[in-house]
């Protein structure tokens, strides 16, 4: 996508904080991304990776050291020309981690606030009423319109925050870990609702989270961040299947790490595993890693445990091992299998019946192994 048709365009964004010696310094270096209108975009990473800083720079809560931030044809920030639109004139909707519901106002007053202080135009009383009703209706909270903001549950506060963020129909919606303060069940529910709501109003959305499951389920595109840099920007499927480096593979989803020495082999590669005589085949070919120590990532759900007498299917790696742990977790069985000194995690269907001590074959496809620099 070229920058001109992008809705939100962030280029070479940098912001560093003077290191105070307390915790990770945060900050972001040279972040680049351009989003088409209506995209649900997620910044994913561990704490201190710079995802929140990036979001706050877009919002205008932080002033970047350099870079350009543009929404449509409007330049919010451009260090080289000295442009910095004050945050209150950016017309962005934002949901804060704490929801930031003003306790001295009712639900209605909270949601009406952005309309009352709007600088670009005046909203009449009737229009404010109508718009607030509309926003509250969207988040299914119309019934609580005149309730005091202090008498709301966590989930309700979150909806009020959302209604307040969308009431002015902004072109951009920023969500700063909005689900992290909810309990597990509500979080799952709100994931669905938030995604549906975003699709319904079609607003370009930047979502910040450290929860990879959230990111994978909700996003159109994900940027995985590590130490202030975007290390991979791709669709959830690509991120999961073709992580660009070992960090991404480890952070997004759980995985097994096998170490060994790589060599080229036809169109793919073969890795001789370090602690065993076995080798595994991989359809990926990374020429620069040939002859070097590498790490191989194999996702637990790509592993199939088979009977020792079964035949090896095509394009499949096989290691021999013994089940050392079998746990029933409702929707699936979780196994730990030892192969020589390797410990591998594998999932099986809830009906699978391997027991601790069983000898098994550990099978995974040649397309399921990803190779990274050690």
């Amino acid at each position: 996508m070229s920058a001109t048709e992008a809705d939100l365009d962030v280029s070479l964004l940098s912001k560093t904080f003077p290191n105070t010696g307390e915790g990770p310094a945060g900050g972001v270096q040279g972040a680049n991304f351009a989003l088409a209108s209506g995209t649900f975009f997620t910044l994913l990473g561990p704490s201190g990776c710079g995802k929140t800083t990036t979001l706050r720079c877009i919002a205008g809560l932080e002033q970047p050291d350099s870079g350009i931030i543009r929404l449509g044809d409007r330049v919010f920030f451009d260090h080289s020309s000295g442009t910095n639109v004050p945050l209150n004139l950016r017309n962005i909707g934002m949901v804060f981690q704490s929801y930031a519901i003003w306790p001295h106002m009712t639900v209605f007053e909270n949601v009406a606030f952005p309309l009352r202080v709007a600088k670009d135009r005046r909203y009449g009383r009737g229009e404010i009423d109508r718009r607030v009703d509309e926003a509250l209706d969207t988040v299914e909270l119309l019934a609580l319109k005149s309730r005091s903001a202090t008498r709301l549950s966590g989930g309700q506060q979150q909806r009020v925050a959302l209604a307040r963020a969308i009431v002015r129909k902004p072109r951009l919606l920023l969500l700063d870990e909005p689900l992290s303060n909810l309990d597990a069940a509500l979080r799952e529910e709100m994931r669905k609702e938030l995604k549906k709501l975003q699709a319904q109003i079609g607003v370009t959305t930047v979502y910040v989270t450290h929860d990879q499951a959230e990111a994978l389920e909700m996003s159109d595109h994900i940027a995985v961040m590590q130490q202030g840099r975007i290390v991979q920007l791709a669709s959830p499927r690509d991120i999961y299947r073709n992580p660009s480096n070992a960090f991404v593979a480890g952070f997004v989803g759980s995985t097994n790490w096998l170490s060994g020495m790589a060599r080229g082999d036809g169109s793919g590669m073969v890795v001789n595993l370090a602690n065993s005589q076995s080798s595994i085949r991989c359809i990926q070919r990374k020429v620069e890693l040939e002859g070097r120590d590498v790490l191989v990532s194999v996702r637990p759900e790509t592993i199939t445990l088979r009977d020792v007498h079964s035949t090896v299917p095509d394009r499949t790696n096989r290691l021999m091992g013994r089940v050392s742990f079998a746990g029933f977790s409702g929707g699936s069985m979780r196994y730990q299998v030892n192969s020589n000194e390797l410990k591998l995690e594998a999932y099986g269907s809830p009906d699978s019946t391997w027991n601790e001590g069983d000898e098994v074959c550990i099978d995974f496809g040649t397309d399921a192994a990803s190779i990274f620099e050690a």
Partner: protein, 593 residues
């Protein structure tokens, strides 16, 4: 060269033009937040103009020759030489240190024990402890001091009982002594120590004590090894704070010490400015020395309280301090609270009541009841003079509290949110803490005399002095109030489109109302009972209640002091309670908790 610069200029112009075409880009060509900087600068200028001139005036006068008409000319070190060579400074300094140290220890013992009992145990009568504290904080010092002067004095019940039962010819206790001063000052400060320490104990995390109990520690071990250790930095910081206040104290030294010729730094200073002609240069030099001493102590205090903060263990969510069960010790604890009530409130108030009802100062005896009279009350009520004084006091106190809290709202917000200039604002607004009341009074006296607008002898000058003196207190309320407001509440307002003014007016202001009202009430109450500033600054038409009581006392009209004081305390208690109730209801209706 000119050609070159022309070219680059036109380039810039073209770039600008292009940018403007592509959508009003340069309308906000600023990386600097001007409204915020303007606000910050304005506050710095206002506070600077309040705080710096008094210091400058004192320093200048202390180095200048003073003419008989109080104008100054030339440079001299004479005042400092007089100060150092005179005997008075050394004697009064030693007295000051002994007085302040002992009084501090006394008030810490009383207030500390009480605070721990009330906050961390299941002692009965907790309500009484609070009532005692609140009422006594609203009582003018002078009234308290006169009550204690009577109680411990020649005609008071203690000496009287001794004479009746043991030796009719002697008076064992001379109240006009260093011991008397220490006792009275210690009693005076114990309520405030109680209040400050109870917030420390309340903030202490009960988990830490319970963890000790679960590890097998007895209650006493827990107190000794955990509670006290955790509270120690806060205790030391508080002790230093009270010590500083005792060094600066004026009421007790003036009313108790001066008649017995026990001089401390503040009374020495007071005498030098009240001499005719006043020794302005000497007093200024004296004041500068006091400023340096207090400044150094405050610096130390700042370091200590920073250390105390690291021990603060408030954990936020679901935090409920759980009290110790004292078992049978409950009743001993109740007794302690009762004794405190007697010493801090019941005894002084009954002494005042007694003196206000007696035609002249006499011992508490049944037979004296026959001479009961209400002539003092009649004198107070029938005189329009006192009504004027009450109005003056209320006006200047309410005005001060309002101005201070408005300044503190903006300054506290700037400082707590680390906006540009935050450090300067914070430094400037806390600077008046180095002024003992009397020293600030002398500085403003000099400013008032030289000020182009005739404010000398008016309420305006007293108000100005009050604002300077109480700004740091207002700042504390506003600052901690702002810290309690989650910063995302403000950021949400900005993202919603609000500018600084709207954020402050619609979000920060309303959310700060509880902090601002308690700050307002606190300043209103202490301003209403402040004596040292109005004593120096009041003109004939700008007297306040405290000054009038001081004058009455000096004239030997103890009965009228008592009657006036008692009525004033009752009135102020009603005002404060009503205000508190209304404020509470307001915040209840808007915050729902």
């Amino acid at each position: 060269m000119t050609g070159n610069s022309e070219i680059s200029l036109s380039k810039v112009a073209r770039v600008n033009g292009a940018a403007r075409l592509s959508g009003s880009v340069l309308r906000y060509s600023r990386l600097v937040d001007y409204p915020l900087i303007a606000l910050s600068a304005a506050i710095i200028v206002i506070i600077g103009l309040l705080v710096l001139p008094p210091i400058w005036t004192l320093i200048r006068t202390s180095f200048a020759n003073t003419m008989p008409d109080l104008s100054t000319a030339g440079f001299t070190l004479d005042h400092y030489i007089n100060l150092v060579t005179g005997r008075n400074l050394a004697v009064s300094a030693v007295n000051s240190i002994v007085f302040a140290t002992c009084a501090t220890i006394l008030s810490l013992i009383i207030g500390g024990i009480l605070a721990w009992l009330v906050e961390r145990t299941d002692a009965p009568l907790k309500g009484l402890a609070y009532v005692t504290t609140i009422v006594s904080l609203g009582t003018p010092y002078i009234l308290y001091v006169t009550a204690w002067l009577y109680l411990l004095g020649r005609a008071g019940p203690f000496n009287d009982l001794y004479r009746t039962w043991i030796d009719p010819t002697s008076t064992p206790f001379n109240v006009n002594s260093l011991t008397g001063m220490i006792l009275i000052e210690g009693f005076l400060w114990s309520p405030l120590v109680f209040l400050l320490l109870s917030s420390t104990f309340r903030a202490a995390n009960a988990d830490m004590e319970e963890a000790a109990r679960m590890s097998g520690a007895s209650i006493l071990d827990t107190i000794r090894l955990i509670s006290m250790k955790l509270a120690r930095p806060a205790l030391f910081a508080l002790a230093l704070f009270v010590f500083i206040r005792n060094i600066e104290a004026f009421e007790v030294p003036a009313l108790v010490g001066m008649p017995g010729r026990v001089d401390v730094l503040t009374t020495e200073l007071y005498k030098s400015i009240k001499e005719v002609p006043p020794r302005v240069g000497y007093a200024s030099a004296f004041s500068v020395v006091m400023l340096i001493i207090v400044g150094a102590l405050l610096f130390l205090y700042g370091k200590m309280s920073k250390q105390a903060e690291r021990y603060a263990s408030i954990t936020g969510k679901g935090f409920r301090p759980r009290p110790f069960a004292l078992g049978r010790g409950r009743w001993i604890a109740g007794l302690v609270i009762l004794v405190n009530f007697a010493i801090v409130l019941a005894l002084p108030i009954s002494a005042i009541l007694w003196t206000s009802l007696m035609p002249f100062v006499r011992p508490m005896r049944w037979m004296a009841l026959g001479t009961t009279t209400i002539k003092h009350y009649e004198a107070v009520v029938s005189s329009p003079y006192y009504l004027g004084l009450a109005l003056n006091t209320l006006m200047v106190s309410a005005g001060t509290a309002t101005v201070v809290m408005l300044l503190a709202l903006v300054a506290g917000w700037l400082a707590a949110r680390r906006k540009p200039g935050a450090a300067i604002v914070d430094q400037l607004i806390t600077m008046p803490l180095v002024f003992p009341g009397l020293v600030l009074g002398i500085a403003l006296l000099e400013i008032g005399l030289r000020f182009p607008i005739p404010i000398y002898g008016t309420l305006w000058l007293i108000g100005l002095a009050f604002v300077i003196r109480y700004m740091p207190y207002g700042m504390r309320y506003a600052y901690s109030g702002v810290l309690q407001i989650h910063s995302e509440l403000e950021q949400a307002a900005s993202v919603s489109g609000a500018n600084i003014r709207e954020s402050l007016r619609l979000i920060v202001g309303p959310l700060l109302i509880p902090a601002l009202t308690s700050g307002w009430l606190f300043i209103f109450l202490i301003a209403a009972k402040e004596m040292s500033l109005p004593l120096l600054l009041a003109g004939p038409s700008s007297q306040t209640i405290s000054v009038a009581m001081f004058d009455l006392w000096a004239n030997g009209q103890g009965g009228e002091v008592a009657a006036l004081g008692l009525m004033w305390v009752t009135f102020m208690t009603i005002v404060a309670t009503t205000f508190y109730r209304i404020a509470r209801r307001l915040s209840l209706s808007s915050f729902g908790h």
